[in-house]
């Protein structure tokens, strides 16, 4: 399986502003320190080897949307945040509007940042496409219709050309969908959210965003330890620092990098990817949080090494 991240930011889209771009240019020029490059390859080598990610790139600002590539002709997505627009446009650029597709979309919940990409998801406008939206919330259809109706949006949901089906899943019950074994778990978030575990051919990807964890002493009795057990990739809401998540932002429905590492260690996860980034975090802050989290993983490790990374719009991880 391969996970491709189209949107990784939490709460609302976060465009890179002019000051941030200027800061990156300035940092790159300062790092170059008057150096002369005799080829484009030399420039690329300098960018790739000598500039930190936060200078040479950006984590991106689209809200939650992750594609799972698991074989077959159908497409599998988790959530329809603003990253879904990028996904749809890339698909049309690759195949053109003539080719018809089937999409399986798994919704963590219906908060705005997780559905806001759908009115801009061009394949939804094309007759012949099929979109199956799965989730554990009864209000799925209403949420999608409401956000795409007057006075919020000019094109009514009923005008969409694709065949759109909403399929309610029963929490905890296993399903076989498009060749994937799919399980769900109820998560602590305002209005409830659900995590997804996808298994195929001995590989496991877990998508667990918008979830607050309130365990005291952590052991195997905590339900998420079993749900994450031995996952090859855990996509995890690490929006806040622990101190914030359990004090001023308690009950805001999000977790921290520390809790992500502890849960991943306890469950024997191989790769933890931090997701749903705090919108006020700059690229430099996210770089710093990644380095700190990797260090915390090292400090707290009792068994096998856990790979820790931070998701960015455009990242691909193969498991």
């Amino acid at each position: 399986m391969l996970a491709r991240f189209w949107g990784t930011r939490g709460s609302l889209p976060t465009p890179l502003g002019h000051a941030a771009v200027r800061g990156k240019v300035k940092a790159a020029l300062t790092a170059a320190n008057g150096r002369l490059f005799d080829s484009e390859a030399a420039v690329d080598a300098f960018i790739d080897r000598e500039l930190p990610f936060s200078v040479r790139s950006t984590f991106g600002g689209n809200t939650s949307c992750v594609e799972l590539v698991a074989g077959g002709d159908d497409y599998v997505l988790c959530d329809l945040g603003s990253g879904a627009r990028e996904f749809g446009n890339a698909l049309l650029a690759r195949h053109g509007p003539g080719r018809k597709h089937r999409f399986h979309v798994f919704m963590s919940h219906l908060h705005w940042d997780h559905i806001m990409g759908f009115p801009f998801f061009t394949p939804a406008y094309i007759p012949g496409n099929e979109i199956r939206i799965y989730g554990c919330h009864r209000a799925m259809r209403d949420a999608f219709r409401q956000q795409q109706s007057a006075p919020c949006f000019p094109v009514d949901f009923r005008a969409l050309g694709a065949a759109i089906e909403f399929i309610e899943l029963e929490p905890g019950r296993p399903y076989e969908i498009n060749g994937l074994s799919v399980r769900t778990i109820l998560q602590n978030h305002a209005g409830d959210s659900y995590g997804y575990r996808f298994d195929k051919d001995g590989k496991t990807v877990v998508y667990s965003t918008d979830a607050e964890h309130k365990y005291g002493a952590l052991d195997d009795s905590y339900p998420f330890v079993g749900f994450f057990r031995d996952a090859d990739l855990l996509i995890f809401d690490a929006m806040y620092a622990l101190a914030d998540a359990i004090s001023v932002k308690e009950d805001w429905g999000h977790a921290s990098n520390i809790v992500g590492v502890e849960l991943a260690h306890q469950a024997g996860v191989k790769h933890l990817v931090m997701f749903h980034h705090e919108p006020i975090y700059s690229d430099a802050t996210l770089d710093k949080v990644l380095a700190e989290t990797q260090r915390y993983e090292e400090i707290s490790r009792a068994g096998a090494r856990l790979v820790v990374s931070t998701a960015y719009d455009g990242l691909e991880i193969e498991v």
Binding site: G216, A217, S256, I258, V259, E292, T293, R295, Y296, I299
Partner: protein, 111 residues
């Protein structure tokens, strides 16, 4: 987990020994909350002999900090080993509770 307790001036100094983790944090939490309970209590946690603290231990400190504020008390931590200090920084607990380099400095500040 062993937690030594001594009184210096009007300050109670708690000195846990070993790791404050999933196994030991319930003991750490019970002792801490019991100590910060009385009104106006001044409590220093001496980390000299603490090798590691998990989120469960940090949660206990947060609970104690809240309780201490509610009862007009004071709570501080002191003598953090480099790794424990790193955990306080990574978790941003450095912003939640006053940290002193030595226990003596903490006692002097709270006393």
């Amino acid at each position: 987990m062993e937690i030594k307790e001594r009184r210096q001036s009007d300050v109670v100094v708690l000195s846990p020994i070993g790791r404050v983790d999933n196994e030991t944090s319930p003991i750490f939490q019970a002792k801490l909350l019991g100590t910060v309970g009385p009104a106006y209590a001044a409590v220093v946690i001496d980390f000299t002999e603490v090798e590691y603290i998990s989120s469960a231990g940090l949660r206990a400190i947060l609970m104690a900090s809240k309780q201490s504020k509610a009862t007009h008390g004071q709570l501080a931590v002191a003598a953090l080993r480099p790794i424990v200090r790193e955990i306080f920084d990574i978790s941003r607990f450095s912003n939640i509770v006053p940290i002193f380099v030595t226990t003596a400095e903490a006692v002097a500040a709270l006393g």
